[in-house]
Amino acid sequence: MNPFASTVSLNMQGQYNTPNTHKYSVILPTYNERKNLPIIIWLLAKVFEEHQLAWEVIVVDDASPDGTQEVAIELARVYGEDKILLKPRAGKLGLGTAYIHGLDFCTGDFVIIMDADFSHHPKFIPQFIRLQQAHNLDIVTGTRYRSTSTPYLAEAQPGGVHGWDLKRKLVSRGANFLAATVLNPGVSDLTGSFRLYRLPVLRHIITLTQSKGYVFQMEMMVRARALGYTVGEVPITFVDRIFGESKLGADEVVGYAKGVWQLFKSV
């Protein structure tokens, strides 16, 4: 189909002086994010408006008891019903199914997945987009472990993490080393969940994934590489747990190792 005759393109002509007529959908799975949601949407709106990009945010809320959905409706009033879509679900059903649910309502041609708790900053999205366009990549992922992007992007800043002590860093690097040795995925940050996908690519991969939690993000990346999709990486800064504490127990470690083994066997 002629890309200049797509709905997005026709609607945008004459409104923006921009060469980028793609529409970017952000899928935000939320659970009890009443405090964070307005701010993350404000940051997203600011970034997209600054760069003159067509955007939408799909908030997939798993029946939060704290009123996240009311805040989402207020934000839809402020930013537009076409920009903030609230698609709630009946209960806490998991991340993978949240993405599948959100994908049903996407009207963009690229999908960005990220966390709603400020660990992923929207300011990196234009860098993702620029890298994707420069090399026609199918997937661009954020990495916390690199200082430069692959392939090269001039405006990339070194990545990093804030809020991790030595033990957490060791665990993180160890886990990544294990997964990289066993699976050889070709990306430096396997468990990262700040990614830009081409819509058909995400649809394809998500129908194939079977795991949950940390391993779900790993599986998506490993399957994407196995299917031959092109992947680029951009360094991101990750500010962990700006409110609250996280715990990494032995159960999670065992679950992770099992997940890696499962992927080794099946992909």
Partner: protein
Amino acid sequence: MARLHRVSIYSSILISIYLLVLFEVLPITLIDVSIAQEILPVIPWWLLVSFGSYSLWSLGWRVFTFRDCPEAYHELLQEINEAKNDLRSRVVTVD
């Protein structure tokens, strides 16, 4: 073919070649047999130790060079404040 299967096939081929050479079923050219017989039994342990030391070095180096980003944290806090003020003026519940 899954990665497990590929790795299993390659490693079985390599291990069988190694065992054949070790038990002198296959001859080695260019190296004295006695020297070869001293080196060959040690090769698996050598591989293990090399892998272990590589992993240790790699892990240690990566933890050492793991970047902290306090400036990102401060910038984020400022932006959160800015966002809250802006949203309050547009009548959205923050907090």
